[in-house]
């Protein structure tokens, strides 16, 4: 789907966030970008989204480059329009593409249903819990049926119970939607649970230290599987080696 080839990013002022980073994203993949704060994970995600441009290297899309709506983005905060209802927040990407409200509503309601928010269509963000706001944000990212879903530490601010629930739900959504997910996290447990491929990044300037493939089942019960604990330990050791 996308080849990130020797990409670097130096910000004005001279801060080098990324250096010589290469990565391949395949269809229906689930990749976790894992590393400590400031290692360029979010920068890489913004480059993939086209929200920023690399200083060096190239981003090569297979086939046609992404059109608006082909990429969904979920930020660390839900970043909803506080004056709009859940329904209108999810409608936003379609509205910006000129889709009429009547045409969009079945898709909006399907997206809200997919994240378990049926019945909350007319609720405004302040009336929703942090976890529910994040679900609206995920529904908004899914409503355009994106080829690529980019998630920048979306569950970092949530409590552990909500986080576990949303992680399990995200796996269901990913299986249903069939899109490629790139998930930024600094939690080894989260990366091990969610991803098919875990990409370890080193601190600034960010570089990819190692890629690890998961043999775990992408399902809620995996958390209780001894193989999950073993994979977490394997990632931890690799991370220690990368940071040494």
């Amino acid at each position: 789907m996308l080849t990130v080839s020797n990409v670097g990013r130096i910000f004005p002022g001279g801060v080098e966030a990324l250096r010589d980073t290469s990565l391949r994203l395949d269809e229906s993949d689930f990749i976790a970008l894992l590393g400590p704060s400031g290692c360029g994970k979010s920068t890489l995600l913004r480059l993939i989204a086209g929200l920023d441009q690399p200083t060096s290297g190239r981003m090569l899309w297979d086939g046609r480059p992404p059109a608006p709506g082909d990429i969904g983005f979920v930020f660390q905060d839900a970043t909803l329009l506080p004056w709009s209802t859940a329904e209108d927040n999810v409608f936003l990407p379609l509205r910006l593409r000129g889709v009429s409200r009547s045409e969009a509503m079945p898709m909006v309601h399907a997206a809200l249903h997919r994240v378990g928010l049926t019945g909350f269509e007319t609720a405004r963000p302040r009336a929703l819990s942090g976890g529910m706001r994040m679900r609206v944000s995920i529904a908004r990212a899914l409503v355009t049926r994106p080829r690529l879903l980019l998630m920048d530490e979306p569950f970092a601010a949530l409590d552990e119970f909500t986080r576990h629930k949303l992680q399990a739900d995200l796996l269901d959504v990913w299986r249903e939607a069939g899109c490629t997910v790139v998930f930024v996290t600094h939690s080894i447990y989260e990366a091990a649970f969610l991803a098919r491929r875990v990409v370890l990044m080193t601190p600034r300037p960010g570089k990819i230290a190692r890629e690890m493939t998961s043999a775990l089942q992408p399902a809620a019960e995996t958390r209780l599987d001894p193989a999950y604990a073993a994979f977490v330990a394997e990632i931890s050791r690799a991370m220690q080696a990368a940071l040494a």
């Binding site: 989204a49 506080p82 004056w83």
Partner: protein
């Protein structure tokens, strides 16, 4: 708790009346509250007509400031060229004392009502302009990124993100500018004197001071203060009602 301001006001008035009477202060120096009420009761229609006239100028100026301030803030937010062109002039307008330019405006504009409105607009303009401009820039960068990601056109970002984000700021600016429009209208009337509208409350204050009708002067001042308080609370209540309708944000 809710009655505390009224109780405090009544106590202050009672002390004021007692002090004036006990110390034998002449009415042309400081009239007591009762003398002021009597002065108002002697010509309520005249004073209220003058208040209406001043408020007319105030609301016209506030409307003009809202339209101009809002439009210029939007233009500035939409274009860097407009920002470079507008901002220095807006600041210059803010720091220019109204009494210094009011005589010129009155001469240039000619029509007294319009001249007063222009003067009051100049005073009321800046808070509306500055707060709306801040509001238009207040949307979180992530939401701007999101609009960019979904290929939003500039007018869509303005209509669906920046303008709604600016609404609370605009309403705060409107509340501040409401009081300033009243001040501007009064200052303009004072500067214009008999060359102005010759019917506003400030003109009545001038007229009363020339005739040493100090209680009447105070009655006019009290009306102005009450109008200012009502204007402030009224605009605040309208703002809250508008924000409540869209979920309190």
């Amino acid at each position: 708790m809710r009655g505390a301001p009224a109780l405090f006001g009544l106590l202050a008035l009672a002390l004021w009346e007692a002090a004036v009477r006990l110390l034998g202060v002449p009415v042309y120096v400081l009239p007591g509250p009762i003398a002021i009420v009597q002065a108002f009761a002697a010509d309520p229609v005249g004073l209220l007509e003058s208040l209406t006239s001043t408020l007319f100028v105030t609301f016209a100026a506030l409307a003009m400031a809202a339209v101009l301030g809002g439009a210029m803030a939007v233009a500035m937010s939409a274009s860097r060229l407009a920002q470079a062109a507008i901002q220095p002039w807006a600041v210059a307008l803010q720091v220019t004392p109204l009494p210094a330019i009011a005589p010129l405006i009155i001469i240039w504009v000619g029509q007294p009502f319009l001249a007063l409105v222009v003067c009051a607009t100049i005073v009321a303009f800046f808070p509306l302009f500055a707060s709306t401009a801040s509001g238009l820039a207040s949307a979180p960068p992530e939401l701007n990124d999101l609009f960019h990601l979904y290929g939003a056109r500039r007018w869509q970002t303005m209509r669906l993100l920046r303008l709604p984000a600016a609404l609370p700021y605009f309403l705060t600016g409107l509340r501040i500018s409401g009081g300033l429009a009243l001040v501007g209208a009064v200052v303009a009337e004072l500067v214009a004197g008999s060359g102005g509208f010759a019917s506003g409350l400030a003109y009545r204050i001038l007229e009363a001071s020339f005739r040493l009708e100090i209680p009447r002067m105070f009655a006019a001042l009290v009306l102005l203060a009450l109008a200012g308080i009502l204007l402030n609370y009224g605009l605040g209540a309208i703002g809250q009602a508008i924000l409540r309708r869209r979920g309190g944000v």
